[in-house]
């Protein structure tokens, strides 16, 4: 059996530190996801109306977010705006802002798509029953849109969690950074630690994202 360097994990508080790093990554993506879902639903619903200015805003916003690598956005926010505007941003706050900008645009687009995919005659059928416009939206359009939306938005949140691995580059000590620190500190004693530690990181990411994608699959089947 080759030396996988797993013993490093049991030295001191290394494993707890890794879990702490995972929590930092999860916390950032979950806060950003909450903001994105709330703002995205609002933006998406507004953009789904005919001739809406929000639809144009969303398109431009989405275009920029799609073109720019997330890393450039992170650098721009963390190094760029802090210099140019003289404000103080922690790496974590900068990451949350960037992830929310990204998430809101994508979520908005998902919501807009889901709402517009409900056939017009479903709305008319609800109107013909004498429901008020807000009731038509709440009881007929939204529930159907949400069913189409949930698998897609869980996919977005999973991608967010994975992308937190970039924020080590703006100085946030998340799971990947902790892993590097552990490997570095044990270079002499356990030269093979890189394998064991990164393997553990891989498993932890997997354990964090897997329940989400299982939930998405389940809901897709249940509502399909």
């Amino acid at each position: 059996m080759p030396d996988l360097g797993l013993e490093v994990l049991w030295k001191g508080k290394n494993f707890a530190r890794l879990l702490g790093g995972l929590w930092v990554a999860l916390r950032i993506s979950l806060i950003a996801a909450l903001i994105s879902v709330a703002a995205g639903i609002l933006l998406g619903v507004l953009a789904s109306r005919k001739h809406s200015v929000f639809s144009a805003i969303l398109q431009v916003w989405l275009g920029i977010i799609h073109i720019m690598p997330q890393m450039v956005l992170l650098f721009l926010m963390y190094f760029g705006t802090t210099r140019a505007f003289g404000w103080n941003l922690s790496g974590e706050t900068a990451a949350i802002i960037v992830f929310s900008l990204w998430g809101t645009a994508e979520m908005g687009d998902l919501v807009r798509g889901a709402v517009s995919s409900i056939p017009a005659i479903q709305r008319e059928s609800a109107e013909a029953l004498g429901l008020r416009p807000i009731q038509v939206f709440r009881f007929v359009i939204l529930p159907q849109a949400v069913r189409r939306l949930i698998p897609l938005s869980i996919n977005l949140i999973t991608r967010m969690i994975k992308t937190t691995s970039l924020i080590t580059l703006i100085g946030v000590v998340e799971i990947l950074k902790v892993a590097q620190q552990i490997i570095e500190a044990n270079r002499k004693a356990s030269p093979n630690a890189a394998f064991g530690v990164y393997l553990t990181v891989f498993v932890l990411y997997y354990l964090a994202c897997r329940p989400l994608s299982l939930a998405a699959k389940h809901l897709e089947k249940h509502w399909g």
Binding site: A126, L129, G130, Q135, P143
Partner: protein
Amino acid sequence: MSDVVLSISHLTKRFDQQTILEDLSLDVREGEVVVIVGSSGCGKSTLLRCINALEEIQGGEIRLRGEPIRHNSKNLPEMRRKIGMVFQNYELFPHLTVLDNIMLSPVRAQKRSREETRTEALTLLDRVGLKEKAGSYPRQLSGGQKQRVAIVRALIMHPEILLFDEVTAALDPEMVREVLDVIVSLADQGKTMLIVTHEMSFARAVADRIILLEDRRILEENTPEQFFTSPKTEQAEKFLQSFEFKRKKES
């Protein structure tokens, strides 16, 4: 003469530059069953959609028991609750069970009690032979069953008038009967109805009055007997002939 329930006067409907209906007037009296026939695209469905303001109208007026129905008025939802509409493709809400489809509007829009609504929903479902389907989802039903649920969903609102928009056109032939039987029994109960259909024998059986819509207007208005045996207009004769098949045989 009984009261006029629905009164359409000088209705004009245009889509962009194209005129669909022009200066059309029609009254429907209480308990009357009026069947509208006409070739595809003559505006029959559009006429129904104008009545509950799913389409904006460009001229004329539509009144239900004397109250005007306007596309942009505040009380439109209240007015629509008095008009039951059944669509060609059922348009049940796929995320709700049969019972919830039926109960949605009485409970939410009319603010009736859940208990009373549920009891009535089950009674009505029983009457169309679908009581055991109350907990099913629309996707688990056949087309004919869906359409019967859609009729119940309209009935439970206790509308002043029922509009049927080619309700059997999307059905497999063997399911047409079960839906038409329900409508005939509603006619027997004295419901006021405006029906658009292509089923001529059904039209003849159910109608108190037949209206031929052609060329943006009402071309002929007649009793079913006369309409089918000795129509007043050449167009009506031509229209009826389009349903018959003849084969020239060499003799």
